[in-house]
């Protein structure tokens, strides 16, 4: 139970081995400390994991969480999160997902669900207000993500895996409708537990502490999002696909396994091409006012179109200029239930290994006719596909090519080539879940794609990366779409890039790092809410909890540090924040010595500002944030990390 509104007050605990369920203890003190979403999940896992625990252990928990804003009617708040130990990286992963499941889970009366154990036979976990049932999923096993969901009650919010999850492809994902909890292999953990699907249904709604104020705020918030240049114009008009062209212009479009930042045929795989010749309609997650999703046709079916990551990584990065193929592959990969980023990254790495004569996996740059078959082989772990199903890090351990295996902590990088956006490179390296652009702090949005802060200078990047990492962590904890955090960037700085004032402000940006770092360290300073980040107001009005900008930054900082120390306990080494040598030692432009990621230089500033010693939060830092773990556990983890 809870005294706060906005929450349902219960977290479900399910044991698949015993086929039992009950309530997971979660108090208001826990809610105040973590808010919800991925921060809540990190806290739950931090207090459960042990150093020996692995992704496919019976007691590796799947933690599905919503935020206090999920189901409150605030714009873009249908999100939920799935966290677990990743089979791809061996450390925590967390996937923020749209779709309908988060809302349905709350309507069934739960803020989250903790799932342990393994079922002996395929199971569909059905959660309703009255009961939780373990339904036989034998008939669903083997079905694609789309088929599976079609065969579950249509009124229910759903989660489902496809063949890739069943076959434990290390980057298998979980689908809710057409949206994906994509990264880190949460689908493989589902598959290992024989958990084919989870559905939720109910009629409950969270109570709201101050309905009038929240309604008023929602009107303003919707207007803010719909008039902001990024969320109101660019994303609805072109979707994330609209980034291909600006990425080309700014030399950050990953090309030929990240050996370059520009692709001659970029226009053929661009957002403009998608919009003009392939778009059927826009689509949106429940409660979304941005509507960035693209619907396209494959054969006679209208399906989810590719996002920027898929366009870039199955386009420029493998030297393919056929957008129709990308649309089709995107659909096939979704149906098989795989993360298209890691899948495409592994394919590109395989292509380079083949080109260098190391091993021929049957896939080659610029040759695309057999890729549909390769995706199927990966999902079913057949033939050479079995190697690619383990991701590029493991492939490099077996075949070599570590310096051009494009991953961080075992997770393949997103489509942004960081040698021309060095702060983004720092983000990739320090991101807790590995090579993810969002957990990285999405620095490209200030390094060219939204604002034009000098993308090659290391100055100020550590401070900005920390701020955005913490802010996005908090926004995710609210149950909000990460795109809502873009509104923090003042519209005029984006809309008027050539104005003298804009240029002066952006030129000064890298040099205000020390000031920004003060805020990063002393998160309790901004004891007020700001209109550009309405999440603080929304949490206050929805839950009745005291919530300001300081609270958001504190929750974000707590989450980022909790995830980090959890990773250290799981065995992450002190030197794990790194990038492949291609990105830190080879120049993207041989004539410009700045076009590589000066990672070590930025990391020093980053760690100092975080209160970390060589990538590990100090005991003092953990205590100051209220992260409560045993000193003996910390000391042991530290010793292992340094070994």
């Amino acid at each position: 139970m809870t005294d706060y509104q906005g929450y349902m007050g219960k977290v479900l605990f399910v044991d698949l081995s015993k086929q039992t369920y009950g309530e997971f203890p979660w108090t208001d003190k826990d809610r105040r400390r973590t808010l919800g979403g991925k921060v809540m999940a990190a806290d739950i896992l931090l207090h459960h994991i042990t150093p020996e625990m692995k992704a496919f252990d019976e007691d590796n928990w799947l933690v599905i969480t919503t935020g206090p804003l999920t189901g409150t009617g605030c714009p873009n708040t249908s999100r939920f999160n799935i966290s677990t130990i990743s089979p791809l990286t061996g450390i925590l992963t967390s996937s923020n997902c749209g779709g309908d499941f988060g809302l349905a889970l709350k309507r069934a009366g739960y803020d989250g669900a903790v799932i342990t154990g393994k079922s002996e036979t395929p199971v569909h976990l059905r959660i309703t207000e009255k009961e939780v049932t373990f339904e036989d999923a034998g008939k669903l096993w083997g079905m694609t993500t789309g088929e599976t969901q079609k065969n579950i009650h249509r009124t229910h919010g759903m989660l489902a895996i496809g063949p890739a999850g069943e076959n434990k492809v290390l980057y298998a994902c979980v689908f809710s409708g057409e949206r994906t909890a994509g990264r880190g292999g949460v689908g493989a953990v589902f598959g290992d537990k024989k958990l084919k699907a989870v559905s939720a249904f109910g009629t409950k709604l969270p109570k709201i502490a101050n309905r009038e104020k929240l309604k008023e705020l929602n009107v303003k918030w919707t207007k803010l999002l719909q008039t902001h240049p990024l969320t109101g114009r660019q994303l609805p008009r072109l979707g994330t696909a609209g980034l291909v062209s600006p990425m080309q212009a700014h030399s950050i479009l990953a090309t030929k396994n990240f050996s370059a930042g520009r692709y001659d045929d970029f226009e053929m795989i661009s957002g403009e091409e998608l919009a003009e010749n392939h778009l059927v309609s826009n689509a949106a997650c429940t409660t979304c006012v941005i509507r960035c999703a693209r619907m396209c046709k494959v054969d006679d079916k209208v399906v989810k179109g590719p996002e920027l990551e898929t366009l870039g990584l199955l386009g420029a990065n493998i030297l393919n200029n056929d957008i129709e193929k990308i649309i089709r592959w995107n659909y096939e990969i979704d149906e098989l239930g795989m993360d298209s980023i890691s899948c495409a990254g592994s394919v590109a790495f395989a292509m380079e290994l083949a080109e260098k004569g190391v091993h021929d996996f049957g896939v080659h740059f610029g040759e695309t006719d057999n890729l549909s078959q390769m995706f199927r082989d990966i999902a079913y772990r057949e033939g050479e596909g079995n190697y690619l199903a383990d991701g590029s890090k493991r492939m490099s351990e077996q075949f070599g090519g570590e310096e051009y295996a494009i991953h961080a902590k075992g997770m393949e990088l997103a489509a942004y080539e960081p040698r021309h956006a060095v702060g983004h490179g720092l983000g990739y390296a320090t991101s807790n879940r590995g090579g993810c652009h969002l957990n990285a702090g999405y620095m490209v949005v200030v390094e060219g794609l939204g604002l034009e802060v000098d993308s090659l200078t290391p100055h100020g990047k550590a401070a900005l990366a920390i701020t955005f990492q913490n802010l996005m962590e908090a926004v995710s904890a609210c149950g909000s779409c990460l795109f809502t955090s873009y509104a923090v960037l003042p519209g005029f700085l984006i809309d008027k890039p050539n104005m003298k004032a804009t240029r002066a402000i952006l030129t000064a940006f890298p040099y205000v790092g020390p000031v920004v770092n003060l805020l990063n360290h002393f998160t309790k300073i901004p004891q007020m809410n700001i209109p550009l980040v309405p999440h603080g107001y929304a949490v206050k009005y929805a839950t009745g909890m005291r919530s300001t900008m300081a609270s958001l930054l504190t929750w974000g900082t707590y989450g980022y540090n909790a995830e980090r120390i959890a990773n250290i306990i799981l065995g992450q080494k002190a030197d794990a924040d790194k990038l492949p040598k291609r990105l830190t030692e080879e120049l993207q432009d041989p004539n410009n010595p700045k076009t590589k990621v000066p990672l070590e230089q930025m990391k020093k500033v980053y760690y100092r500002a975080r209160g970390w010693k060589k990538g590990i939060p100090t005991w003092h830092r953990l205590k100051s944030l209220g992260i409560d773990i045993d000193k003996s556990v910390y000391d042991e983890a530290l010793a292992r990390a340094w070994r």
Binding site: P229, L230, R233, Q234, L235, R237, L238, G239, T240, G242, L243, S245, P246, A249, S251, R262, E267, S270, G271, E272, A275, C292, L308, V444, V445, L449, G450, E452, F483, Y486, L489, I494, D495, K496, P497, N498, R503
Partner: protein, 91 residues
């Protein structure tokens, strides 16, 4: 006069329905004026009012041969390729 290729991207392209144009001009500001006129004429002939608000492209992010250009008086050379991107491209 330099003969250059102009390409429009982002919201500019969606609004003007113009992807590419071949234009002769000496300097960038002159080129942008010609482009402005061409877009207006195209909209008139097609019976569609151009929805584009910033027809002077003063807020555009412009690249010449792949290099960011902020000088409106920039001299153009034969065969140059000009990319005109709308501001705000994050996502």
């Amino acid at each position: 006069m330099a003969k250059v290729t102009v390409k429009l991207f982002g919201v500019y392209r969606m609004d003007t329905h113009l992807a590419k144009a071949e234009i002769e001009a000496q300097k960038l500001d002159e080129l942008l004026e010609i482009l402005h006129t061409q877009i207006e004429q195209k909209a008139k002939s097609e019976g569609t009012a151009a929805q584009i608000k910033d027809l002077s492209f003063k807020d555009a992010t412009i690249f010449i041969n792949g290099e960011r250009c902020r000088k409106r008086r920039q001299k153009l050379g034969d065969g140059d390729e000009i990319w005109i991107l709308s501001p705000a491209s994050g996502g």
